[in-house]
C-alpha cells in the first residue's frame, strides 16, 4: 500500500517537476460578480430556468398554491425532519389543503409506496445558478430532497447568495460530510435524449421563499 503510494509520488515528482507558477497562487480571470441587490430576482429567474417552481408573496396564498400543486402531483404524505421547525410548520399548515398525512421519516427511508413531498429548510440558495444548498452539518438530514417524489425547499430570503463562491466559502475550511447543490428536479435524457424528470430524485422541485425570518402569520412564525 505505502509502497504503491511512494512509487506513485516518485513517478509524479519526476514527471511534473514543479514547472510554472508555484502552487498556492491565485488564478486570474475571475467571473464577474452580479450585483447583490438583484440576487432575489435573479434567483427567481434561474430557479425557474432550472425547471423549479418558486413560490413567494403572502404565506397564506403560497400555502394554498402549494397545496394545490401537491394534490396535482398525487402527493399523500408530507415528510419533514423532526428538528426542522420551519419545515414542520409549513407541512402542518398544509394538512387542511388536501388529504395529506404527516411523517418524520423512518417509513420513507424504508421505501414507502405513498407519494411523498419532502420539506426541508435550505442552508443557502445561489442566485447565479438557481441552486438550493443542503448540507449534513449539525446532524441535519438530506432525505427530504433525496428520496421524496416532490421536494419543497424553504428558502429564507436572507440566505440567498449571489454566486457559488459565497455558498462554498462558508464550508471551505472544513466541509460537512455531505454538501449538495440542488438545481431543479432530478432528470435524465438517457432514453432517446428526451428530457424526463424524476429519474432517481424528486420529479418536482419547489422553493418557498420566505422574505422575513418570521413570516408574521400565525401559521409559519415561531
Amino acid at each position: 500500500m505505502v509502497n504503491a503510494r511512494e512509487s506513485l509520488f516518485r513517478r509524479l515528482s519526476a514527471a511534473c517537476g514543479g514547472r510554472g507558477a508555484p502552487p498556492g497562487e491565485g488564478h486570474p480571470g475571475e467571473a464577474p460578480v452580479p450585483p447583490e441587490a438583484d440576487r432575489i430576482a435573479l434567483f427567481a429567474k434561474t430557479f425557474a430556468a432550472a425547471d423549479g417552481v418558486l413560490l413567494h408573496g403572502p404565506v397564506e396564498e403560497a400555502l394554498s398554491d402549494l397545496g394545490e400543486m401537491l394534490r396535482m402531483e398525487g402527493v399523500t404524505a408530507l415528510f419533514f425532519p423532526e428538528d426542522d421547525a420551519a419545515a414542520r410548520e409549513i407541512a402542518e399548515a398544509l394538512v387542511p389543503f388536501g388529504p395529506f398525512s404527516l411523517t418524520t421519516g423512518a417509513e420513507v427511508r424504508g421505501g414507502s409506496t405513498a407519494v411523498t413531498a419532502g420539506f426541508r429548510t435550505a442552508e443557502a440558495a445561489i442566485a447565479e445558478t438557481g441552486t438550493v444548498v443542503e448540507t449534513s452539518a449539525g446532524g441535519r438530514t438530506l432525505l427530504p430532497g433525496l428520496i421524496a417524489d416532490v421536494h419543497v425547499s424553504i428558502v429564507p430570503a436572507a440566505s440567498v447568495v449571489a454566486r457559488m463562491e459565497e455558498a462554498l466559502a462558508a464550508v471551505a475550511a472544513d466541509p460537512p460530510r455531505n454538501l449538495s447543490f440542488l438545481s431543479g428536479p432530478s432528470r435524465t435524457g438517457d432514453i432517446e435524449q428526451t428530457l424526463t424528470v424524476g429519474a432517481h430524485g424528486p420529479r418536482k422541485a419547489i422553493a418557498l421563499l420566505l422574505t422575513s425570518p418570521c413570516t408574521g402569520s400565525g401559521t409559519t412564525s415561531r
Binding site: A31, S136, L168, P175
Partner: protein, 470 residues
C-alpha cells in the same frame, strides 16, 4: 473494458451500416451541440471561465505531486481510506479486497469512466459482489450486456422499443412506448437497490486538494443516493482530477454542465468529504478513495500532458464529424471521439490503438469547443507522426505521403500532375469519383470516397475567378 481500438476501420463501417445507430446519432449529436452552443452564448463569462479553468489545470499538472499529496492528507484526516493503483490489475485487486473486507454483496454504481478503464465491475463480481449500474443509461446497457457509446449518454444507441423489451425480459415490466413510464420502472427497481446496497461506487469529477473532498456532477440523483445511503462508499478517480481549492470549483461548475448538456448547472452537485461525522444522520461509515494512475504519470512526463486537463464533458464528441458518423463503439474502448482518439493510445500504448489518431478530419471543431483548451488537433497530428516513427504505418502510406510531399514542394511538378490528373481522372472515372484502387492504395480507398480530380485545377480556377472579381 476489452480493447478493440485497432479495429476502428471495421467498427466504423459496421456503425455506418447500422440504421438504428445512425438514427440515434442523427437525433442526438446535433441536439447536444445546439444546447451547448446556446448555453455558452447565454453566458458572457464563458471565455473567462474557460481561460481560468485551463490555467488552473495547467497549474495542477505542474504540481500534481503537491496537490495530490495534499488531497490524500486532507481526505485521510476526515476518515477516508485512500488507495493508489499503478495499473488496472492493481486497481481490480484493491477494489475486490475492499469489497471482501467490508463484507459487501450488493453495490450500486454511478457512472465512472475511470472504473470502466480498469474493468472494475468484473473485479467486484469475481469477489462475489452484484454490481448494479444506477445511471439510467448505464443500467440499460448493463441489462443489454453492452458497453457505453457516449461519455454522458451511454445508451444513445438504444431506442425506447429496445429498452422496453429489455425491461420486459429482465424486470418483468409490461411493454410501453412511454418514456416517462420507462424511467419510472427503472426508478422503482433501482430505488430498492439503493436502499439495500452495502456499498455505493462512484467516480469523481473533481478532487479538492484543500479539503479532501470528492465532487460529483449528476442530473439523475443517483450519485447522491449512492454516496449518502449505503454504509460504504468507494470513489474511483483518476489522479489528474485534483483541483487546488474549493474556491476553484465554481469555475469548473460554470464550464462543465454547459459544455456537456447545455445546462447552466446540473441538477445535482454533490461534495462529499470523508466519512459520516459523529451525530450525522446519513453518510457512509467507511469511505474508500481509489486513485488511478493507470498510465497517467507517464502521460504527465511527455509532450501530451495537457490531455490530462480533460474534464470529460464530451463536447468534443458531439462536435466531431467522425464521431457524429460512427458513434462511440467504433473507437473500441472506454473513451471515444477526439478525446478518445488521443487518450486511448496514450493510456493503452500507441501500438494497441494506432489507427485512432487517423479517425479525424483535423477540422478543429473539437478544439473550438473544449472548455479547458486542449489542443486536440495538434495532438492527433503529433500522434500520427509518432505512429510513423514507431513503424506503425504501412509502407504504402509512407511512400505515398513522401511522394505527395515531393510534389507539393515543387510548383511546376504540381501543375503538371494536376493537368495529367485532371485529364486522366475525368477519362477513367467519368466524373464519378475514385473507389476501390488496388494495393497499396486500397487502404485509402476502402474507407473513403475520393472525388475525381477536377478538369480545371483549383489554383487555375482561383486565378480565373478572382481575376474576374478584381
Amino acid at each position: 473494458m476489452e480493447l478493440h481500438a485497432n479495429a476502428f476501420g471495421r467498427n466504423a463501417r459496421k456503425a455506418l451500416l447500422d440504421k438504428t445507430l445512425q438514427g440515434a446519432l442523427g437525433r442526438t449529436t446535433g441536439r447536444f451541440q445546439a444546447h451547448r452552443d446556446a448555453a455558452v452564448a447565454a453566458f458572457p463569462g464563458f471565455e473567462a471561465a474557460r481561460e481560468r479553468a485551463s490555467r488552473i489545470k495547467v497549474d495542477v499538472l505542474d504540481h500534481l505531486d503537491t496537490y495530490l499529496a495534499r488531497f490524500i492528507e486532507e481526505a485521510e484526516k476526515r476518515g477516508a481510506i485512500v488507495h493508489v493503483a499503478r495499473d488496472a490489475a492493481q486497481a481490480r485487486e484493491i477494489a475486490a479486497r475492499i469489497a471482501r473486507d467490508e463484507g459487501v454483496t450488493l453495490a450500486v454504481k454511478s457512472k465512472s469512466m475511470a472504473s470502466e478503464e480498469v474493468s472494475l465491475n468484473e473485479a467486484l463480481q469475481e469477489a462475489g459482489v452484484t454490481v448494479v449500474e444506477s445511471d439510467l443509461g448505464e443500467y440499460i446497457i448493463q441489462l443489454a450486456g453492452e458497453t457505453p457509446s457516449h461519455i454522458i449518454a451511454p445508451a444513445v444507441h438504444k431506442t425506447r422499443e429496445e429498452i422496453s423489451l429489455l425491461f420486459e425480459r429482465h424486470l418483468g415490466e409490461p411493454r410501453t412506448d412511454s418514456i416517462p413510464e420507462l424511467v419510472g420502472m427503472a426508478r422503482r427497481h433501482l430505488r430498492a437497490k439503493f436502499l439495500s446496497a452495502g456499498m455505493g461506487v462512484s467516480g469523481g469529477n473533481f478532487l479538492v486538494a484543500d479539503t479532501g473532498s470528492v465532487v460529483l456532477v449528476t442530473n439523475e440523483g443517483n450519485g447522491r443516493m449512492g454516496t449518502i445511503l449505503p454504509r460504504v462508499h468507494l470513489a474511483v478517480v483518476g489522479i489528474e482530477k485534483v483541483i487546488p481549492r474549493m474556491a476553484d470549483l465554481p469555475t469548473f461548475l460554470r464550464i462543465l454542465p454547459r459544455s456537456a448538456s447545455g445546462q447552466a448547472i446540473s441538477s445535482y452537485v454533490s461534495i462529499v468529504t470523508g466519512t459520516r461525522r459523529a451525530g450525522d444522520r446519513e453518510g457512509p461509515d467507511r469511505m474508500h478513495i481509489l486513485l488511478l494512475d493507470c498510465g497517467r504519470s507517464a502521460i504527465l512526463e511527455g509532450k501530451y500532458r495537457e490531455i490530462l486537463k480533460c474534464v470529460r464533458c464530451a463536447a468534443c464528441l458531439n462536435a466531431c464529424p467522425v464521431y457524429q458518423s460512427v458513434g462511440g463503439h467504433a473507437y473500441g474502448w472506454v473513451y471515444s471521439g477526439p478525446i478518445g482518439a488521443v487518450l486511448t493510445p496514450l493510456l493503452v500504448g500507441l501500438p494497441e490503438a494506432a489507427t485512432l489518431p487517423d479517425a479525424s478530419t483535423l477540422c478543429g471543431a473539437c478544439a473550438d469547443v473544449c472548455p479547458v483548451k486542449i489542443p486536440l488537433p495538434d495532438f492527433l497530428l503529433e500522434l500520427r507522426s509518432d505512429a510513423r516513427d514507431q513503424g506503425l504505418k504501412p509502407p504504402g502510406e509512407i511512400a505515398a505521403m513522401k511522394g505527395y510531399a515531393g510534389v507539393m514542394k515543387r510548383a511546376g511538378l504540381l501543375e503538371a500532375m494536376e493537368r495529367i490528373g485532371g485529364v486522366l481522372g475525368q477519362l477513367f472515372t467519368k466524373g464519378k469519383g475514385i473507389g476501390g484502387l488496388p494495393y497499396p492504395f486500397s487502404g485509402w480507398t476502402e474507407r473513403r470516397d475520393f472525388p475525381a480530380p477536377a478538369a480545371l485545377p483549383f489554383r487555375k480556377h482561383w486565378k480565373i475567378n478572382r481575376g474576374a472579381r478584381d
